[in-house]
């Protein structure tokens, strides 16, 4: 969560539509849990503009492999 511009990947349009109807966590971002089709999960991840998932420098994620995105309560 440092002070720099992070890598990001664009989510599929269906998830963009889904997230843009759900509440934000702060101005311009939401905190989500992500489940991939193989069952792997990423928790407490940040999506900006309901559209881009922020990644760590050493991460590469194929958005087509995402099975489910849930808003963190």
């Amino acid at each position: 969560m440092g002070n720099r511009t992070k890598k990001k990947v664009e989510l599929k349009e269906e998830y963009v539509q889904y997230l843009s109807e759900l509440p934000e966590s702060g101005m311009g971002y939401q905190i989500v849990d992500i489940t991939f089709k193989d069952g792997h999960q990423l928790k407490n991840r940040i999506v900006v503009n309901s559209q881009f998932l922020l990644l760590e420098d050493d991460e590469n994620i194929d958005p087509l492999l995402i099975d489910k995105i849930e808003l963190k309560k």
Partner: protein, 165 residues
């Protein structure tokens, strides 16, 4: 020191647990210069923890974004979608006038340049909550944040302009 050596906690569960970084409530203290020179606020509550109030139909609010196609604005009906954050026009003006860093002031998670300011004028009786941006993502916060749980009425989105213009 009698018995003091028996007072330690072992560094293993359940005495110690890993906490995700973004669940840590950051403790940061605003410098006096930021409070004085940048018009930042300290303490208080975030918007979602603040009481609901009704808009007066006159006050202006601004939503800052790196993206011209901000997904939280319904450009067809000219309104904010439910669950959207913004700031007050007054706080935005202070941020610009004092050359403050909006990323730090509004404790944003990504350091992408804020390029756009979307102007909103909620109608009388639109519901909002206003509070102080709490520290997060290694940023101090201290700006004013406003949460529109139910969004805003139609024709409340007025225009967009480049940040600072």
């Amino acid at each position: 020191m009698d018995g003091a050596s028996n007072l330690h906690l072992p560094l293993r569960p359940p005495h110690v647990a890993l906490v995700p970084r973004n669940q840590i409530t950051e403790f940061r203290v605003l410098t006096e210069s930021k409070k004085k020179n940048k018009g930042r606020h300290s303490g208080g509550k975030g918007a979602v923890d603040s009481p609901k109030e009704v808009a007066d139909g006159k006050e202006l609010f601004v939503r800052l974004s790196s993206y011209e196609n901000d997904k939280r604005i319904d450009f067809i009906n000219k309104k904010l979608k439910p669950g959207t954050f913004a700031t007050t026009n007054d706080d935005y003006n202070v941020c610009v006038r004092t050359s403050d860093d909006p990323i730090d002031r509004y404790a944003l998670p990504n350091d992408e340049t804020i390029k756009w300011a979307f102007c909103i004028q909620p109608k009388k009786d639109d519901i909002l909550q206003r509070g102080i941006v709490q520290p997060a993502f290694s940023h101090d916060g201290g700006g004013i944040e406003v949460f529109f749980e139910y969004g805003t009425s139609e024709k409340t989105y007025l225009d967009k302009r480049p940040y600072g213009k």
